[in-house]
């Protein structure tokens, strides 16, 4: 049990601390050496010109100024916010729907839960390769099903208007993870509330609207923040989708650079253009953007998150 913070430790506390310290030391060292130090070092590098080898040359704010004047930086930021703005709310709705399905009182629910969760444990790169086949405009099953209901052929991965939407769809295969958290939240809602609402004549929709949703808002907030922080770091699917050496997509990040996401461009600056200074500056700009987004969501949450019953 973690005690409330105190400034005066008793003898027993000090002894416990001495005993515990060596056990947590490796992780404390790891945090300082492999997390805190690189973060600080990247801040230093963002004010330098550095190829990754040799000496870093101080350049002041030049890396940040370069980003402001680089159209691809703005494009990558736009692509990333566009993707996050779509993927997070859609992912939230899908995760809640999946959680509701997993929460049904049917005998085989364990099987359904496993089936719904399964895509989430598949590696993202494997899913991406499968998606390339599914989304083939001529031979893919997605377009085949759409043509049955009269939708014209969509060039999912070759048309800049659809590429990001394709990745939003792909991201939904990972909705099983957040769905499990929502499932836990749903099961924590006291059943008396539903019972008394039923007695008062509330139907399933009303109960969902006025009991379930308010009581899971803390988890919705968590999912929004977590999803946003992950969303702005989207990388893997785009990196795989622009691979290959034939077709015009190779060497641009998707058609019209529509899959040039922020972290992908950061990666290109660091490892293709050997410009660690610009890459570090990008990392810090992204950090600030993530913090601002998280703060905005937190502030907004005051109007709709309910902590009264938990």
């Amino acid at each position: 049990m973690i005690a409330a913070p105190r400034f005066h430790l008793s003898k027993a506390d000090r002894r416990n601390l001495r005993t515990a310290a060596p056990f947590i030391l490796p992780w404390v060292i790891g945090f300082f050496a492999f997390t805190l130090y690189p973060i600080g070092y990247s801040l230093y590098l963002s004010f330098n010109s550095y190829s990754g080898f040799g000496d870093a040359t101080p350049v002041g704010l030049a890396n940040y100024q370069h980003l402001v004047s680089d159209p691809l930086f703005w494009k990558s930021l736009y692509n990333t916010l566009y993707y996050t703005g779509l993927a997070v709310p859609i992912g939230l709705v899908i995760a809640i729907v999946l959680a509701l399905m997993m929460n049904q009182r049917v005998r085989e629910v364990a099987i359904y839960r496993a089936a719904v969760y399964l895509p989430s444990i598949l590696p993202l790169f494997a899913l991406t390769f499968i998606f390339i086949v599914l989304l083939n405009p001529r031979f893919g099953i997605v377009n085949y099903l759409l043509t049955l209901v009269g939708v014209p052929t969509i060039n999912w991965l070759g048309d800049p208007r659809w590429t990001k939407i394709s990745i939003v769809l792909l991201a939904q295969l990972g909705a099983g993870g957040p769905a499990l958290i929502f499932l836990a939240a749903l099961r924590a809602v006291p059943s008396e509330l539903y019972e008394s609402a039923s007695i008062d004549g509330a139907g399933p929709l009303r109960r969902f609207r006025h009991i379930t949703i308010p009581l899971i808002t803390p988890v919705i907030l968590y999912d929004l923040i977590y999803g946003t922080i992950l969303g702005v770091q989207i990388f893997t699917p785009a990196y795989i989708l622009v691979g290959g050496t034939s077709g015009s997509a190779a060497y641009t990040a998707g058609p019209d650079n529509s899959l040039l996401f922020y972290v992908f461009y950061l990666y290109k600056n660091a490892f293709q253009y050997s410009d660690m200074g610009v890459a570090s500056a990008m990392a810090w700009v992204l950090f600030v953007i993530s913090v601002l987004l998280a703060l905005a969501i937190m502030r907004w949450s005051r109007y709709w998150v309910h902590y009264e019953v938990s």
Binding site: G52, R138, N155, G244, Q272
Partner: protein
């Protein structure tokens, strides 16, 4: 201090030392030689991002080296990477776990040398090998007058055509005989349009898509007589009017004529990202013409040995124009911090020397950069000789310290031209200013 506390410290120290030992890795010098190596040899590692069938041939050469070397035993490892993506290499080198030899796209040697990733080979006496290699390849392997690489293969590009598809569409293919010189672009357009075929409103066969495969910005820029770099002013010149014209004719207008969306849908259907070689639309009969390199001869022999095809010059803008192509290729380098650099150099001399290049040429139909091998006609059966004959007049990409960046900028402009989203002159002017800003700190280059 309690006994438990002391025990805890010991446990923690033990844990840390285990972690550090695991991170440290093993020393290459004490490693036993691999199977197939001679005893008493020291191990060196060789990394390549090549995939089959080329990597199979590289393994053959490595095995042959190991059989004959008394001092070095080479372990070949396939790693992720591409022409311009060397993330795996840079992170490994930086953490002291890099290989002893790396196979690097030769046009990026200057760029990686400028970044400090590569070892200067002067101390190994690499300069004395210069006369063995064709001059453009040796020039690409040097940066600021010092050798940083040994050239490996090269290649040239040409126009492949499917005789079966063209004849079925009623095209007279006699004009495509290379003995008649290069065809004109108009001639190819007329032939290609006869091959175009749609089912349910979407293309399933297209005669010619100039930007597919090796129809790069550099390819058409050179064909139109453009110049990509001005050495005297140390500036890239993608907005050379001849390159702008190439972009306009071969990317913008060609795409518009086929239908911008229709041709993109065709590419996404028949040439999706990360497609396996054997599904290439030319090999599967969905493209009538394609500009690509001599290595495709080897792919055809492997995957579609009965293909009814021919090879001629890349088409030229006007009748009577000189044919043009460009030569690329790879090279062998020693990254900084290599633990067995001398063993690595011994292997480099072998694989990039006559024995290695002879096997690679035979097995993969790439072109050797060793002068003496280029005149050995037994190495170039069938159609390969045509590519070798193009070599003396072939262009090569300017070896710039911002080569990968420049390539991406040219590709972005190419993509805009193909999609008709930007005027080629504007897109190329943007590429010029962005690249020159990056290049400027490295000037002068000589």
């Amino acid at each position: 201090m309690s006994l438990l506390g002391r025990r805890g410290w010991k446990a923690s120290l033990l844990f840390v030392s285990v972690v550090l030992a695991a991170c440290g890795g093993s020393s290459t010098s004490s490693a036993p030689p691999l199977a197939g190596c001679n005893s008493g040899t020291t191990q060196a590692t060789f990394w390549t991002s090549h995939t089959p069938p080329d990597s199979v041939s590289l393994q053959h050469i490595t095995d042959a080296f190991n059989t004959q070397s008394k001092t070095t035993c080479v372990k070949m490892v396939q790693v992720p990477g591409s022409e311009t993506d060397i993330a795996k290499l840079t992170t490994a080198v930086r953490s002291g776990t890099g290989p002893d030899v790396y196979m690097l796209d030769r046009f990026t040697v200057a760029e990686r040398a400028a970044a400090g990733v590569l070892t200067d080979l002067s101390s190994f006496g690499a300069s004395s090998l210069a006369s063995n290699y064709v001059s453009f390849a040796w020039a690409e392997a040097n940066f600021k007058g010092k050798p940083y690489a040994l050239p490996f293969d090269t290649d040239t590009r040409a126009l492949y055509y499917r005789k079966d598809l063209l004849q079925a569409a009623g095209v007279d293919i006699s004009a495509l005989d290379p003995s008649k010189g290069p065809p004109t672009i108009d001639m190819i357009r007329t032939m290609a349009n006869k091959v175009n075929h749609k089912t349910n409103g979407a293309y399933d066969v297209i005669g010619f898509i100039p930007w597919i495969n090796q129809g790069w910005h550099y390819t058409w820029g050179f064909v139109y007589g453009g110049s990509f770099f001005d050495a005297s002013s140390c500036k890239v010149t993608p907005n050379d009017p001849k390159i702008v014209q190439a972009y306009t004719d071969m990317f913008q207008n060609w795409s518009k004529a086929l239908g911008v969306d229709a041709v993109q849908t065709f590419i996404s259907s028949y040439a999706p990202p990360n497609q396996p070689t054997q599904q290439d639309p030319f090999l599967t009969g969905h493209l009538g013409f394609v500009v690509t390199g001599d290595w495709v001869l080897g792919q055809i022999a492997t995957y579609v040995p009965n293909l009814n095809y021919g090879v001629t010059y890349i088409p030229v803008p006007h009748a009577g124009d000189q044919p043009a192509t460009w030569a690329g290729g790879w090279s062998m380098v020693i990254p900084k911090g290599a633990k067995n650099a001398s063993g690595g150099y011994e292997f480099m001399k072998y694989i990039a020397g006559e024995p290695g290049q002879r096997v690679y040429t035979k097995e993969t139909q790439h072109t050797p950069t060793i002068k003496s091998l280029q005149s050995d006609s037994t190495l170039f059966p069938g159609g390969h000789q045509f590519f070798i004959n193009q070599l003396p007049a072939a262009h090569s990409r300017p070896p710039l310290p911002v080569g990968a960046f420049y390539w991406d900028q040219l590709s972005t402009a190419q993509d805009a031209a193909v999609r008709n989203t930007a005027d080629p002159a504007t897109a190329l002017a943007a590429a010029a200013s962005a690249t020159n800003a990056k290049l400027q700190p490295f000037c002068p280059l000589s």
